[in-house]
């Protein structure tokens, strides 16, 4: 009996100690900042070193880098569950740019507007800043950048005396000529992303823009010009039915299409900048035979516009150390840090000056060209409802691509569904 009572007392004391420890922990002693990010692929992950550098500059601060799940959907789910559950578990968050307005509207992000210097955002790509801005306020710092590009085989185009196509019509004609000359049944024309997922929405958006329309207008109405949108879908479907693009385009994501092109089985590819490093890697079948150009347009003189993407760094509204967290975000998005990341990993910077940086250009000669295309890029609709928008249109766009629905019908159905869901949240 006595033994049991003393065990109880011991437990109580331990519990009280633990409780006291929680309460007092952040008042004294070193501060710990938690940084949530997805592992960066590449020859060397530069992040641990960057985090150590921040600690060296702030002696009383420790930074804990915590990995996010690999897939973007899982990352989003992780954030939503933790932030909705009011967990104060992290200070700085890596965010896919399409989530920023949603998280801002939910009150999960610290409004950075008043903290930023007057010209602090000027060095960034305007499109990156646009996707970090919602309701006239800035909610995150752009960290790495993506833009849709048209990759082409320089050796094949040169062999037939061709220049990179300005219009889709021209591209189709070039594909016909090259394939007629090569007589290689394994050589596909134009590969892109047509699987039912976020990448499909990106590809269709680029087709919409080339056709002078969009998915969501400034006034937040969806499919402002349904006929033009349907026409763009019909055009994409036509690429597949006429054999310009292979039948498996309807199952292709970035990697599937990147590999086909990287193995030398395609003439043109739509993809993000990361692919260039892989094409130029030792042992690549297309090393030294690849360049990129703007996406084709539908009419001459109006080159296509690539969709932009990438990651931002935001500060959690529940952070206990907002100033330090912002300092960490600033440190990681600084020119020095972005240079290290661009050198160590296949990610492109959001700061324009780095595209003319001597060290970087020596390592990645295509950087200056990339800057011009990135500058022309356009963000996906910047709206808190983006995921609802995307998840709703994906099966409809896919249905039009595989031919089970007419493009007009797909656009009408997607529009009707969106109207129903959006009236509930607005």
């Amino acid at each position: 009996m006595i033994a049991r009572r003393s065990a109880w007392a011991l437990g109580l004391v331990a519990w009280l100690l633990a409780l006291g420890g929680c309460g007092a922990g952040h008042e004294r002693g070193p501060v710990t900042l938690v940084f949530k990010y997805a592992r960066i692929l590449g020859n060397a992950d530069p992040l641990p070193e960057l985090l150590r550098a921040f600690e060296a500059a702030h002696p009383r601060v420790r930074v804990k880098g915590e990995a996010l799940p690999w897939a973007s959907d899982d990352q989003h789910q992780f954030y939503v569950i933790n932030l909705e559950g009011r967990s104060p578990g992290f200070d700085v968050m890596m965010l896919d740019c399409i989530w920023v307005p949603e998280f801002a509207r939910a009150g999960w992000l610290l409004d950075l507007t008043s903290q930023l210097g007057p010209d602090e955002l000027a060095p960034y790509f305007p499109s990156a800043v646009a996707s970090a801005t919602y309701d006239g306020r800035v909610w995150a710092l752009p960290w790495n950048f993506n833009v849709g590009l048209l990759y082409y085989r320089t050796d094949l185009l040169a062999k037939y005396g061709l220049r990179p196509p300005e219009t889709y019509e021209e591209m189709v004609e070039q594909i016909r000529r090259i394939r007629a000359g090569e007589r290689d049944p394994a050589l596909d024309g134009y590969v892109w992303q047509g699987k039912q997922y976020e990448g499909l929405v990106v590809n269709v958006l680029e087709a919409f823009w080339a056709n002078d329309t969009t998915l969501m207008a400034e006034n937040e109405s969806v499919f402002p010009e349904p006929a033009r949108a349907a026409d763009a879908l019909k055009f994409l479907r036509g690429l597949i039915t006429t054999g310009v693009s292979p039948a498996w385009t309807t199952a292709a994501d970035e990697e599937l299409s990147r590999r086909a092109f990287g193995d030398g089985h395609a003439i043109f590819l739509r993809n993000w900048p990361y692919a260039m490093d892989l094409f130029e890697a030792p042992g690549s079948a297309v090393r030294g035979k690849v360049a990129f150009a703007p996406l084709p347009g539908r009419v001459r003189g109006a080159p296509g516009v690539g969709s932009t993407g990438g990651a931002h760094l935001g500060v959690s509204a529940r952070s206990r150390y907002p100033e330090l967290a912002l300092a960490l975000a600033r440190h990681l998005t600084s020119e020095r840090a972005q240079r290290a990341i661009a050198l160590g990993a296949a990610l492109s910077p959001t700061r324009q000056a780095l595209y003319r940086d001597r060290d970087l250009v020596r390592e990645r000669p295509a950087m200056p060209r990339l800057q011009a295309l990135a500058l022309a890029g356009r963000p996906r609709p910047v709206t808190p409802y983006y995921l609802l928008l995307s998840a709703t249109v994906q099966p409809e766009f896919s249905a039009a691509l595989v031919g089970v629905k007419s493009p007009e019908r797909a656009i009408a159905d997607a529009g009707a569904r969106l109207a129903y869901f959006l009236q509930a949240v607005r």
Partner: protein, 290 residues
């Protein structure tokens, strides 16, 4: 009731209480909460929260994406369970008839069954690769657009699921086969029964109950299948591989419509319960008959 009986009953209540409390906290309470959510328009991050009655269900009734998901779920369940049973029984019989290498065969079967669904799905993603996948390389010029053709994607997903879960049926059947006494077969032989008669008159009837059980488990699993299509196709192309659980996931976790997503979940729950109830009845009458 004597004092002793009352005491026994009290003890029984005490013994059963932890189970009741645990089930109540982990199953009944969340279940009722989901039911309650499904009657609301609730999108917490946009501060939308109001009672909506049966609005969500009314929308589901006319929602083509919901009906397509329901149809996909039904086809997937029927197709995969039927194939699993036929192949599972065949494999069990084959292993049973095999004189050597039974252990190897069984371990190989278990390997497929023990593999996490996501890993199995990734494996098939490579097998179905349009140009470099083993299947299309073997088919050569007649390559098939496995995951991008609306007519082929669902069968392809079913096939991947069958590969992974057929061993469950096979191993259950094999265990039952081992328990059939040899003299039953000897008696049949003496009576002059051929191999076909032995199979249809003795082996299959004796497998009946265990098969019913296997089908019950597999049907409930198949009705809730999620990982295999989520990894392989994400529900595409054209939503042809989107099951009810994938639809519920998209509504709940991707677009955060807790009310609407809960309504879809409630339908899945009702479906699973109805099927489980039907099977259990069948199992009970079967027991009485046996």
């Amino acid at each position: 009731m004597t004092g002793r009986e009352a005491a026994a009953q009290r003890r029984a209540l005490v013994c059963v209480a932890p189970t009741v409390v645990a089930l109540g906290a982990l199953t009944v309470y969340p279940g009722i909460w989901v039911l309650w959510l499904s009657l609301q328009r609730r999108i917490p991050i946009f501060d939308v929260s109001r009672f909506a009655g049966f609005e969500n269900y009314a929308f589901l009734a006319i929602d083509p994406r919901f009906w397509s998901a329901a149809r996909t779920t039904a086809v997937f369940t029927l197709g995969s369970v039927a194939l699993e049973v036929v192949l599972g029984v065949a494999v069990a019989l084959a292993i049973h008839a095999q004189a050597r290498g039974r252990k190897v065969a069984l371990s190989l079967l278990l390997l497929a069954w023990a593999m996490p669904a996501v890993v199995g799905a990734k494996l098939f993603e490579w097998l179905y690769h349009p140009s470099a996948g083993l299947i299309n390389v073997a088919l050569g010029r007649h390559a098939i657009n496995w995951l991008g053709d609306p007519g082929v994607a669902l069968p392809a997903v079913i096939l991947a699921d069958v590969w992974r879960t057929m061993p469950f049926v096979a191993i259950l059947c094999y265990a039952r086969l081992l328990a059939i006494p040899a003299d039953v077969y000897e008696a049949a032989q003496v009576d002059g029964a051929g191999r076909l008669a032995t199979l249809t008159r003795i082996t299959l009837p004796l497998l009946g109950r265990i098969l019913l059980l296997a089908v019950l488990f597999r049907t409930l699993d198949a009705l809730r299948a999620f990982d295999i299509m989520f990894v392989l196709t994400g529900g595409g192309p054209a939503g042809t591989t989107e099951t009810l659980t994938v639809y519920a996931y998209r509504a709940l976790f991707q677009t955060l419509q807790l009310g609407f997503g809960s309504a879809v979940s409630v339908v899945v729950f009702a479906l699973v319960m109805a099927v489980a109830w039907a099977y259990l009845r069948l199992l009970r009458t079967n027991t009485v008959a046996a």
